[in-house]
Each structure stands twice: as structure tokens, then as C-alpha cells.
């Protein structure tokens, strides 16, 4: 479904951020992309959407991510950005949700149906006509997910979905992620959230994939995590 083969990348003239990174994500799975600040998590998401270009080969649903395919690739992907303020640019939640479907040629009636369906599923119907800049942090994050779901993506990319959320909103976010049927790639250093939502994990450190595999195994490995400047999830910390 998603495949990185020997991908390297650097921002202009800086030192490499990613150095020969390879991994694959199977359809329908939920994968946590973890690593300390600056490990290159957001950069991987940007490469996937074709917002940046590196060397090596990236494919999404069998399509290589190259300029000619961008439109087809992006149609499959829904990117929930770290900062919802940057993601939403229309005046109201409703108009923001309409933007992508209409751009991709979905009819107005079909788009309206999808929007009502997504809002009901996320339990935020009351946000429909609210103005984006009047939403609270938690509401904004939920609206941002609704905006992405309205376009029926096959893969959802989330950049630090629980950062800056209070405990109640964080719990709601975790519940929402667990209920998503799509393939998900979630970056975070909130390892408890990753443990609650993902079955597999990719651990990045110093521009390389340090470990990849079952979330249970990797997130329990105190020594490995500490080498990568991370800490055991709180829920596991007491157990050994």
C-alpha cells in the first residue's frame, strides 16, 4: 500500500534528514511513526504527499509518487496536519469540508451527503456551520479530521494528532482514531496514544529506521527507546 525504498532527503544544503529509509505499510493497518523531535517524522509525511521530493522510491497504492502522479496520489491520501489553523482556510467547517470533494469532481449532493455522514460519525454535527476561527483547540482538531474524511481518502496521515490537547480531548481523539477503518500512518511522541491505536510501529532515529515491527515489542523495549531519546509509555513503565 505504502512503500519507501531507500529514500534519502535533505532540506536545501542542510545535513540529511532521512538517510536510506525503507519500510512498507500494509493496507488497513495502523502504524505509528515515532521518534524524538526533529527525527524526520513530519518530513516523511510530506514526502508521501509529494510536498517535498527526495531520492529513492516512494509508492502509494502502487503509484510512484512523482510529479505526473501527484493528483492521483493525493486523491488517495488525507493529511491531518499538526496545526489545524494551517489546514483549514475556508470560513466555516462546512465550506472547508466541501473544498476537496468539489475539487475532485464529486457532485454537490453527494458531497453534502458525505459531509453529514462524517459529522454524524464523529459526533460533531453541531460544528457544521461554526466559523473555523471560533473553534476551541479540541473542536478544531476534530473538524480538521472531518475535513479530511469528507474526501473519502484511502490512507490517513496524521501529524501529532494529540499534541496540545487536554486529557479529555486526547481520549476522544484516541477513540476516533481507533474507529477509523482506513489505513493510518500516525506520527507522535505520545507513545501511550500510539500503543492505544497502532498495531505496528516504525522508530526513527538519526535519519534512519532504527526498528520496525509490532508496537507491543518495540514500545516495551526501554533500552531501545532511551537510545532514541524516548521514554517507555506510562502504561508500561510500571511493569518491569
Amino acid at each position: 500500500m505504502i512503500e519507501f525504498e531507500n529514500v534519502s532527503f535533505r532540506y536545501e544544503k542542510e545535513k540529511p534528514v532521512l538517510d536510506d529509509v525503507s519500510f512498507r505499510i500494509s493496507p488497513g493497518s495502523k502504524t505509528g511513526l515515532i521518534g524524538a523531535n526533529g527525527a524526520g517524522k513530519s518530513t516523511i509525511l510530506k514526502l508521501l504527499c509529494g510536498l517535498e521530493q527526495g531520492s529513492g522510491k516512494i509508492t502509494v497504492g502502487g503509484l510512484p509518487v512523482i510529479p505526473e502522479n501527484l493528483s492521483a496520489v493525493r486523491r488517495q491520501l488525507g493529511f491531518v496536519m499538526q496545526n489545524s489553523d494551517q489546514q483549514m482556510f475556508m470560513p466555516t467547517v462546512y465550506e472547508d469540508m466541501l473544498f476537496a470533494p468539489l475539487n475532485y469532481g464529486v457532485s454537490r449532493e453527494e458531497a453534502d451527503r458525505r459531509i453529514d455522514d462524517v459529522l454524524a460519525r464523529l459526533n460533531i454535527t453541531e460544528l457544521k456551520y461554526r466559523h473555523n476561527h471560533r473553534l476551541s483547540g479540541g473542536e478544531k482538531r476534530m473538524a480538521a479530521i472531518a475535513v479530511i474524511l469528507a474526501n473519502h481518502p484511502e490512507v490517513i496521515l496524521m501529524d501529532e494528532p494529540t499534541s496540545a490537547l487536554d486529557p479529555a480531548n486526547r481520549r476522544m481523539m484516541i477513540r476516533t482514531i481507533r474507529e477509523l477503518p482506513q489505513t493510518c500512518l500516525i506520527t507522535s511522541h505520545d507513545l501511550d496514544m500510539i500503543l492505544d491505536t497502532c498495531e505496528t510501529v516504525i522508530l526513527l532515529h538519526a535519519g534512519k529506521v532504527r526498528a520496525a515491527g509490532s508496537a507491543e515489542t518495540i514500545l516495551k523495549d526501554r533500552q531501545l527507546l532511551e537510545e532514541c531519546h524516548l521514554e517507555l509509555p506510562l502504561s508500561l513503565a510500571g511493569k518491569n
Binding site: 493525493r74 493529511f79 466555516t92 466541501l98 476537496a100 476561527h133
Partner: protein, 267 residues
């Protein structure tokens, strides 16, 4: 609340005004755009000493204010940010054009003074008309109507992004001002020495946020054209609206109504 925050909040509340449902709101965006352009062209075309004729052009903003339920006071308040700019343009007229053209009682009034006043009036009127346009028409529908009259997609996008970026710029400025004041509490404004780095930082941050905003648009299939969120048909009533106002403007421009009324009263 800081001044920047205040300005920002006002700007955002324009977006909310635009979502209203008054009779003016219900005309098609294109018709309002055409009327506004017609109004601005008419106002600008008045000769520089024609104060009393020009003054009657205030009829349009007053009518729109009444019909839309948006108070004129509110509009004037909004326009105050740009007013100094308008004044600066005509500031030298009184110095350059000193010929006396009329007397108020027995005070001589120079041509330069008259033209300064008329320039200011023109500026204020045009700003008022623009304010009423954007506060009765949601931005995206307004921009969609620009596309309908075949304005190139690039320009429309640029305008729309500018509109969105202004708030981004303002938010960044507000955050930075807050951070600055927390560290320099005894200071009233920004110390002149901090201006350079402040503006540099502001531009960098705004560009970062702006490019992220643009990325989000691209990821959601943006190809240079905003999808028409609502179809805004141009109906007969919209045509009548345009013709009615343009007719009014032509009459106001061609005939000196003030003088006619004065003469009528004099008989």
C-alpha cells in the same frame, strides 16, 4: 486586548457579517461587485472642486447600510485604519494649489483645500463601498464571481490568499507582540531597535504559515480554481439591481442634484 488583536477580531467579524441574510446579502455576488465597481468609478470621476455634487454620492452607502442592517457607524469605524493613508495622498494639495476658488462667508478657500477635502471624501466613500461589499458577500463567493467575469485564475487566487494571509499575518504579529511585552513589560510600544528583527521575524513566520496553508490547499486538489461552493445564478432581480444603481450613479454624476434642489427651492 492588544491593538493588533482588536484589529484582527474586527477583520474576522467581517467574515461573519458576510454570512447574514438581509436583502442585500441575497443579491448575487457578481451584481454587488459590478455595482461597487460602478460606484467607485463614478466617485473617482468627479471633478476635484465638485464637493456638493460628490457629497450626494453618500446616498449609496447609506442605502446599503439601511437595507443590510449593518450600521454606518460600524463601517466608518472599520475604515479608520486606512484613513491616514488616504489623507497622506492629498496632504500637499493645499500647499501646491493656493488659488482662491470660493468664499465661505468671507473666509477665502483655496483650490488646494477643496481638492484635499474632495480627495478625502472620495477615499472614504470608496472604502465604505468596499466595506459594504465584503461585509455582505462571503469572500469565496465574491472571488468565484471574479472568475465568472473571466478574471484570470492566478489573480483571483492571489486575491483570495491575500485575504486569508492578512489574518495569518495579524495572528503572528499578535503572538509576537505578546511575547515581546511579556519580556519588556515596562515598554509601551515596540522599541525602535527591535523593529528590524521584529519585521524580519514576522515575514519569515508568515511565509512559513502561508506556505503551509497553500500546501493544505494543494493536497485537497486545488488546481488554481476555487470550486463554486454555491452556485450563484445571475437572475433578473440581480440585473435590475445593477441597472438601478448604475442609473442612479449616472444621474448623480451628470446632474447637479444639489443645485437643482436649491434652484427649485429658490423659485
Amino acid at each position: 486586548m492588544s491593538r493588533i488583536n482588536q484589529a484582527l477580531r474586527e477583520l474576522q467579524s467581517i467574515d461573519e457579517l458576510a454570512g447574514g441574510g438581509s436583502p442585500v446579502h441575497r443579491f448575487s455576488p457578481l451584481s454587488k461587485l459590478l455595482v461597487t465597481v460602478g460606484y467607485i468609478l463614478t466617485v473617482m470621476s468627479f471633478p476635484k472642486y465638485a464637493l456638493s455634487e460628490l457629497f450626494l454620492m453618500i446616498l449609496y452607502p447609506v442605502c446599503i447600510s439601511v437595507l443590510s442592517g449593518i450600521e454606518l457607524r460600524r463601517a466608518v469605524k472599520q475604515v479608520r485604519y486606512v484613513l491616514p493613508l488616504v489623507m497622506a495622498v492629498g496632504l500637499f494639495n493645499p500647499l501646491l494649489d493656493r488659488a482662491v476658488v470660493m468664499y465661505l462667508g468671507n473666509i477665502p478657500v483655496s483650490g488646494g483645500f477643496l481638492s484635499l477635502v474632495s480627495l478625502m471624501m472620495k477615499g472614504v466613500f470608496c472604502l465604505l463601498a468596499s466595506f459594504f461589499l465584503i461585509s455582505t458577500t462571503p469572500a469565496d463567493r465574491l472571488f468565484a464571481s471574479l472568475r465568472k467575469i473571466h478574471m484570470p485564475a492566478g489573480i483571483v487566487t492571489l486575491l483570495l490568499l491575500t485575504w486569508r494571509y492578512i489574518t495569518v499575518l495579524g495572528e503572528e504579529a499578535a503572538v509576537m507582540m505578546t511575547a515581546y511585552h511579556l519580556r519588556a513589560p515596562e515598554q509601551k510600544g515596540l522599541h525602535w531597535r527591535a523593529w528590524g528583527s521584529f519585521i524580519g521575524q514576522l515575514l519569515l513566520r508568515t511565509m512559513d504559515r502561508g506556505s503551509e496553508l497553500y500546501e493544505s490547499m494543494q493536497l485537497r486538489g486545488y488546481q488554481g480554481d476555487f470550486p463554486a461552493v454555491r452556485q450563484d445564478p445571475f437572475r433578473l432581480k440581480d440585473l435590475l439591481y445593477v441597472l438601478g444603481w448604475v442609473g442612479c450613479f449616472i444621474v448623480l454624476r451628470k446632474y447637479n442634484i444639489a443645485a437643482l434642489i436649491g434652484r427649485g427651492a429658490g423659485i
